[in-house]
């Protein structure tokens, strides 16, 4: 995969991975073994027919490849860029078992997605409206995926978004050089073509509640995909200093509000020259690489475990290392030191070593006594995880679990009839593709709840026998009246 030169790209926001050429795409397709029982399909959270679309590309039927892809996945150009393929499809590809690289499934998906955007392809089947009105809370990947499925089934779908631009974490969280805004807009446009309405500047829970949606606004079912954006802080001394911020704040100021372009954009950022990012997941990688591009001279990554245990997508970690970020593995922050006027002067850390395994089996890091040291920094960014967004929990009578996430059953139904939830708000912080998978699963449950018989959906890869069906109507799909219990 051709990429921008590391030192050059560390100073610009253009996409890092330049994408396959047609020739490379065709060569890569030929590597697919077309397995009898493909392991890649079940490894995909939305069960894309991977060998199918690859075969179409190889046959030079690019439109056919897009049709197949878009059946299962609304956002191929996005997922091809941000899915952790090494843990999913590419991780189980037999071609990659020994010394060779697995088939570059993610890059091929991106190639098809980008071609579709360039050509202006979209698949808008004639959809018979079925009279049901569905509300989606949150325009991130979970909400978008659910909206697409419900719209394809004939429902009148409205997506509510609190920000002034839709896209959720795709827009505010993932930087331009990994996921350009143009790609997000193009994918949103295909949602619009399905008839989905997106209403921004709407804070559900406060402007109106979930209950009001069902009781007063005429919605028959609601999906909640509000995400887990509440940032965690460590509670160490010096955290209130003016140079300390969460990765979410850094990324939102930069990605959504254009703070990198201050003062042409009004939102400031006040980037430091020496930035220390705590954490090593994808959000940390994004924060570090954005800092470089905004002009930081030195960027550190401080993580209390080892490189092997970093949860980041491998490609991002690799790119970050190439761009010159200084990784301090097995290091934990102890205190952030005051520069005198509320600014950050330095950070004191302690070295760690791996001790005994804990309950999860991972070796727990323990501090090495006497190994404390300081290094100069003028900005500290926390990327140590997030918790559930509290607003829906505060304003709706939904059962929450003890960590503040919405409690859902295996059908993604909440404790309120007609209300479903998925993505980070139900599971805790995870990935874009898992959120999309959850959005699609919730859509399946919502259609069953509403009694919609959706004969046009083909879920590739499923080869179940016709058990639990009578005259082709599955047990799970049934009509019943929604009963609201008085509180």
């Amino acid at each position: 995969m051709p990429v921008q030169d590391p030192l050059e790209r560390a100073r610009n926001f253009s996409e890092v991975a330049l994408g396959f050429s047609l020739k490379s795409a065709l060569v890569e397709c030929a590597r697919c073994l077309e397995c009898e029982e493909p392991a890649c399909i079940p490894a995909c959270p939305v069960s894309i027919d991977i060998p199918g679309f690859i075969r179409k590309v190889g046959d030079e039927d690019y439109r056919g490849a897009f049709d197949l892809l878009s059946d299962a996945n609304l956002l191929p150009a996005i997922c091809g860029r941000v899915c952790p393929q090494e843990d999913q499809c590419e991780g189980v590809c037999p071609v990659g078992e020994d010394e060779l690289e697995p088939v570059a499934i993610g890059r091929l998906e991106r190639w098809v997605g980008d071609l579709a955007i360039e050509k202006g392809w979209s698949n808008v089947p004639y959809i018979e409206p079925n009279g049901f009105k569905v509300g989606i809370v949150g325009s991130g990947p979970a909400g978008m995926a659910c909206a697409a499925d419900m719209a394809k089934a004939g429902c009148d779908v409205t997506v509510y978004e609190a920000f002034h631009h839709p896209g959720g974490v795709l827009r505010y969280g993932i930087p331009e050089f990994r996921l350009p805004n143009d790609v997000i807009d193009a994918e949103l446009a295909s949602l619009a073509k399905l008839g989905v309405k997106i209403e921004c500047n709407t804070l559900v829970g406060r402007l109106f509640t979930i209950e009001q949606m069902l009781d007063e606004m005429g919605f028959d079912a609601v999906f909640i995909g509000t995400g887990a954006g509440l940032p965690k802080f460590m509670g160490i001394p010096g955290e209130s200093l003016n140079g300390v911020l969460s990765a979410n704040e850094l990324l939102t100021r930069c990605n959504l509000m254009g703070a990198g372009d201050f003062p042409n954009h009004d939102t400031p950022l006040h980037l430091g020259k020496r930035v220390a990012v705590v954490g090593s997941g994808n959000t940390a990688m994004d924060a570090m690489r954005v800092s470089l591009r905004l002009g930081a001279e030195k960027v550190y990554c401080v993580y209390r475990r080892t490189r092997e245990e970093s949860p980041a997508r491998l490609e991002e970690l690799h790119h970050a290392e190439e761009e010159g970020i200084d990784f301090q593995w097995l290091t934990a922050p102890v205190e952030i030191l005051d520069g005198g006027d509320g600014s950050v002067r330095a950070m004191r850390c302690i070295r760690m070593e791996l001790g005994e395994p804990d309950d999860s089996g991972r070796r727990r890091p323990v501090p090495i006594a006497g190994s404390e040291y300081e290094f100069e920094a003028d900005m500290v960014v926390y990327a140590i995880g997030t918790q559930a967004n509290p607003i829906i929990g505060q304003t709706a009578n939904l059962r929450m679990n003890k960590w503040g996430y919405i409690d859902v059953d295996e059908n993604l139904a909440t404790s309120m009839a007609g209300v479903f939830a998925g993505g980070d708000i139900a599971t805790g912080a995870a990935t874009v593709i898992l959120a999309m998978g959850a959005g699609r699963r919730a859509a399946r449950s919502m259609k069953a709840y509403l009694g919609i018989r959706d004969s046009e959906t083909v879920y590739s890869g499923q080869t179940e026998e016709h058990t639990g069906e009578l005259f082709g109507i599955a047990d799970g799909e049934r009509n019943f009246a929604r009963i609201r219990l008085a509180e």
Binding site: I127, Y172, G195, K197, G229, S246, T252, H265
Partner: protein
């Protein structure tokens, strides 16, 4: 093969939605504007749904245009019949000055989202004091009105630097049983700060149960100190720098006792006796360098526009 056709966008017989249709009848139009002084102005924004939902103590986040920043503004009033939200704004920096110039009747904001924050707790206190300082008169008005409606005896105290800056005097008085104006220079009411007014009220009424104070942090801190040992439950409304207002960035974090709270989702009201005001004031200075730069560029741009 399916009975339904697969039709591409070229031949689609289904009307294509723009995707950004307004379904909630809010286009953030400014329907009224009043200039209360040279630096303070009032905007009434049409938003029927928010007018219905707004409660005292809540705020909105406003973004005036595409390259603008998101700023929090307390809801100074809401009219459920007219369907409007009223904001009272002080032109102190680039954004508020730009809005002062651009936001005339008939124009639209790019976005106004809310009502945000946990509504003020209007309990069953029999005697309360509502204190507003400078701009703070506006946001404390809805609370005073709500307390009055709940049957409490309301003592309203407002503070301004001088007579020319006073606004909403009659509007406020209407919902108060007692009303004290304080001016720094003595040009109206009693000479002194709102804390002097509070001390006066406390000496006349030993049975005050609650006090709400809204204004600059230094003023709210002083009010909290005045009531600290008098057993008066004191609530303040904090105004840290915000970006999203929905609890996802942590920029508005404040220390309340030993806990870290996010003003946008845990507040904006907090117990005035527990808030670390020093920390709040330091954090409000996060972007002074950028603020100066933005103001300089703004004045240069204005001068250039005038020169044309």
């Amino acid at each position: 093969m399916s009975a339904k056709q697969q039709v591409t966008d070229e031949g689609s017989s289904r009307p294509v939605a723009s995707g950004r249709e307004k379904t909630l009848d809010n286009d953030f139009e400014i329907v009224a504007r009043e200039d209360l002084s040279e630096v303070t102005y009032l905007l009434e924004v049409r938003h029927p749904m928010m007018a219905k939902a707004a409660q005292p103590g809540q705020f909105v986040i406003v973004i005036a245009h595409e390259a603008g920043e998101r700023i929090p503004l307390t809801i100074a009033d809401f009219d459920r019949d007219k369907g409007t939200i009223t904001l009272v704004i002080q032109a102190v920096g680039k954004t508020t000055q730009e809005m002062q110039r651009m936001c005339t009747v008939g124009t639209r904001l790019l976005g106004m989202v809310g009502p945000m924050g946990i509504p003020s707790h209007i309990g069953h206190a029999k005697k309360v004091v509502c204190v507003g300082g400078g701009l703070g008169v506006a946001p404390v008005f809805p609370q005073a009105r709500a307390f009055k409606e709940s049957g409490a005896y309301v003592i309203g105290i407002v503070g301004f630097r001088s007579k020319d800056l006073i606004f909403w005097e009659d509007k406020f008085k209407e919902h108060c049983d007692e009303f004290i104006i304080c001016t720094d220079d003595g040009s109206a009411g009693m000479k002194g700060m709102v804390t002097d007014g509070i001390k006066l009220a406390m000496s006349n009424h030993p049975d005050i149960e609650e006090l709400v104070a809204i204004g600059p942090p230094i003023m709210m801190s002083a009010c909290a100190e005045t009531t600290r040992f008098a057993g008066i439950k004191t609530s303040v409304s904090l105004n840290p720098i915000m970006v999203d207002g929905t609890g996802m960035c942590g920029g508005c974090r404040v220390m309340v006792g030993s806990d870290m709270k996010f003003a946008c989702v845990d507040g904006p009201d907090f117990d005035g006796h527990l808030v670390d005001f020093e920390d709040l004031m330091v954090r409000l200075r996060r972007f002074t360098a950028e603020e100066d730069l933005a103001m300089k560029k703004w004045s240069d741009d204005c001068r250039m526009m005038k020169a044309k």
